[in-house]
């Protein structure tokens, strides 16, 4: 943090405020709880200053030109020399003694004029516009608009269904030419494809010739679009935003763990949007991560538990799974997609079944240096922290295959992992009794003796530990299918059956054990975990050669890179 001495005192609407150097007036006013309306300014992008909505009145303490002495009022206060014209709040950096007025008649008049200009050609599309309800133009029109139009000429007509890319549709009429999307593509996504063509009222947002907005971050342009010009083709016309209930969640696509907010109505998820976390993902997330909600209602979803292929109640399936696991020769295949709580419960099961080995299945993909890391498992570090594993997992379960072949392992408990995909052969699976706890049908679930239908991350609460060793929590957005059981509950019941002792079965209660004194996760509790997550001490794992490379807000440890 800035030292106290470095702070600059500015005066906003008569209130003195100390801000760090470089703070612009929009942010400074926000610190006082005052909103300076703006369209083009975005805290994570460069300042363009082209919407002119944030006009404020600005003045500096006057100095005598001859002597350089400060000019004073009669009562001894510094005399403020107000500038004759308004200044844009976003482009005005704090300077010592600066005075601004956000609600003076001149500022208000400027704002109303800008609003009127923006509305001149803006179509009356609100009834069919997906942005309605979360549209800044709509909001500022009601707070800073004049309420009627003096424009009697014909409005501009522009293309309304332009396909910018596979996931983004542009309605050019609605565009207020703020250029946020252009700056985003240039500065964050690193894929310059957007630009304005033509001048004046002909100005149009277009892709460069022969290119399209197809990068994996294209939907962020929809999020930052202050109006309804850029719309998500997936979410287009699906649901009005005022029906949506928003729940904080985490993108479990990779080990970055981008913070998200999931919008759902009546048990159905409609979209996933990024949530600002300046330490992890700023205000961005990947397009691929937004698609994850479609797994909830996919065709191959497991909707009920079964024993030997016959549908069974959850209670029966848990009892059967417990008795299968009591047979001995147990190996456990956990997952880097499990939550910390589930991994903790798996570890307890491994202990009470005297499991010969515990495996995780590694998934690696390409690194894009922004929000897609190499490790496609969101929670490998959780497995390390809970002690489920003590080294990086392998992509193939050849060790387990060997143990099955030798007859050492006769029972496998798999949580969310398809053993066939992880390198075991059908023949090997035929030799063992499998208890499968997962959300979707696959080769393993078809061969499993007991299938426990679990919940997706949208249907349960939990925590994950990302590549920075930041523990972050996600909450339940929608209820799961009627026949499914919460993974943690199923594991806790199995553990209780195996050990004969009760085992915490809820996310809230299990943290009394996970976060107990003396453990690596001491002092953490699900309920009190902040929405921004909490950074953990990772020094115990410095020796492990994590594969993640540099990405937004993440620098790999030097030792790890060296070991690589």
């Amino acid at each position: 943090m800035e030292e106290k001495d470095n702070l600059i005192t500015v005066n906003i609407d008569g209130q003195d405020l100390q801000v760090p150097p470089g703070t612009n007036m929009v942010e400074a006013a926000a610190m006082l709880g005052k909103e300076i309306p703006h369209y083009c300014y975005h805290p994570k992008l460069t300042i363009a200053g082209n919407c002119r909505m944030c006009l404020v009145e600005m003045g500096m303490p006057g100095k005598d030109r001859a002597t350089g002495e400060p000019m004073l009022n009669e009562d001894g206060t510094p005399k403020v020399m107000w500038m004759p014209g308004p200044a844009i709040g976003c482009g005005t950096k704090a300077a010592p003694g600066m005075h601004i007025k956000t609600d003076s008649p001149k500022a208000i008049e400027s704002r109303e004029a800008v609003t009127e200009f923006l509305l001149l050609n803006h179509p009356l599309d609100c009834p069919i516009c997906d942005q309605a309800g979360e549209c800044t133009l709509q909001e500022f029109s009601s707070s800073h608009g004049r309420g009627y139009s003096r424009f009697i000429e014909e409005k501009n007509v522009k293309p309304k269904r332009t396909r910018l890319g596979p996931r983004v549709t542009l309605d050019d009429e609605r565009c207020v030419l703020c250029s946020r999307c252009i700056r985003f593509c240039d500065e964050v996504a690193g894929d310059s494809v957007l630009g304005f063509t033509d001048r004046g009222s002909y100005s149009t947002l277009t892709c460069f010739p022969g290119k399209e907005l197809a990068n994996n971050y294209s939907l962020n342009t929809v999020d930052i679009c202050p109006v309804g010009a850029l719309t998500s083709t997936d979410f287009r016309f699906k649901m009005r935003v005022w029906f949506l209930k928003e729940t904080n969640s985490i993108d479990l696509e990779t080990s970055v763990g981008a913070n998200t907010v999931v919008s759902a109505r009546e048990g159905k998820v409609y979209r996933v949007k990024p949530r600002r976390n300046d330490e992890v993902n700023d205000t961005w997330m990947t397009d691929s991560g937004r698609e994850l909600y479609k797994t909830i209602e996919s065709e191959d979803r497991l909707l009920e538990c079964s024993i030997g292929g016959v549908p069974a109640s959850a209670q029966d399936a848990i009892a059967e799974a417990s008795s299968v696991l009591q047979g001995g020769g147990v190996a456990i295949v956990g997952s880097g997609r499990n939550s910390v709580e589930e991994q903790y419960a798996l570890k307890a099961i491994a202990k009470s079944t005297n499991a010969s080995a515990v495996y995780l299945v590694a998934r690696y993909g390409e690194d894009d240096g922004i929000l897609m890391s190499v490790d496609r498992n969101p929670n490998v570090r959780g497995a390390l922290m809970t002690g489920l594993i003590d080294a990086l997992p392998e992509e193939q379960l050849s060790g387990l295959g060997a143990k099955i072949d030798s007859g050492e392992v006769t029972t496998v408990l798999s949580s969310q992992e398809d053993l066939l995909a992880a390198g075991l052969s059908e023949e090997q699976l035929g030799k063992v009794s499998i208890v499968y706890l997962g959300t979707h049908r696959n080769g393993t679930s078809e061969r499993a003796k007991v299938v426990l239908a679990g919940l997706t991350s949208f249907e349960k609460s939990g925590t994950v530990i990302n590549q920075q060793f930041r523990i972050q929590k996600y909450s339940r957005v929608v209820p799961g299918p009627g026949g499914a059981i919460e993974d943690l509950y199923a594991l806790a019941m199995i553990q209780a059956n195996l050990s004969g002792e009760s085992f915490a079965s809820t996310v809230g209660s299990i943290w009394k054990e996970i976060g107990a004194e003396g453990t690596p996760l001491a002092g953490i509790a699900f309920q009190s975990l902040s929405d921004q997550g909490q950074l953990l001490d990772s020094s115990a794992f410095d020796h492990i050669p994590f594969k993640e490379g540099k990405s937004l807000h993440f620098e790999p440890k030097q030792e790890a890179v060296a070991a690589e």
């Binding site: 009834p127 501009n156 649901m239 009005r240």
Partner: protein, 178 residues
């Protein structure tokens, strides 16, 4: 502030009570010979006054275009949550492609509807109207849910003169107002 209504003291005749009873009897006796005010319902129908809030319906404009653009404001404002809309996109080859959005499904549960008329008030497209039909009945719950077809059948055509969306189409044809 509370105030007291003074009762007029009874005079002698009133105190005797019987004369007053006789007066009452004569009043009711006269009433016997008056014409009944009953409206014998299924045969006789009441005249529906202007602005009556009957069954909510969807209307088309004189060209036959469905006016609803499925903005779902009625669904939002509906106090008993009687309205259910599944929005849909108007295909690009449609005559009304410039409207872009229309309802795919539109259900009003008449068992829930309270005829408050807020849907009509909130509708930005003047597409939903509470018209003069006042009696809805059915043998099952499903029957009491008016689907889109039923709503248009009940609603008919609104003699609308604005053609808001057509103006836009015309402007586009003329070169877009530049």
């Amino acid at each position: 502030m509370p105030f007291v209504i003074k009762r007029k003291p009874l005079n002698l005749m009133e105190k005797l009570y019987l004369p007053e009873i006789a007066r009452g009897l004569s009043t009711t006796f006269k009433k016997i010979w008056e014409k009944p005010v009953t409206l014998e319902y299924p045969e006789q129908r009441p005249t529906i006054p202007e602005g009556y809030r009957g069954v909510p319906t969807l209307v088309r404009d004189p060209e036959g275009r469905e006016k609803c653009v499925s903005c779902q404001l009625c669904e939002f404002v509906c106090p008993p949550k009687a309205i259910r809309i599944v929005p849909g996109e108007i295909p690009e080859d449609s005559e009304y492609a410039h409207v872009e959005k229309g309802p795919k499904e539109f259900d009003i549960d008449m068992l829930r509807c309270i005829y408050c008329g807020m849907c009509e008030e909130v509708c930005p497209e003047e597409a939903i109207w509470l018209q003069n039909q006042f009696s809805m009945s059915g043998y099952s719950r499903e029957e009491m849910v008016n689907n889109k077809d039923k709503l248009y059948e009940l609603g008919g055509t609104l003699p609308d003169e604005h053609f808001k969306w057509n103006k836009k189409k015309d402007a586009a044809a003329k070169g877009g107002g530049h």
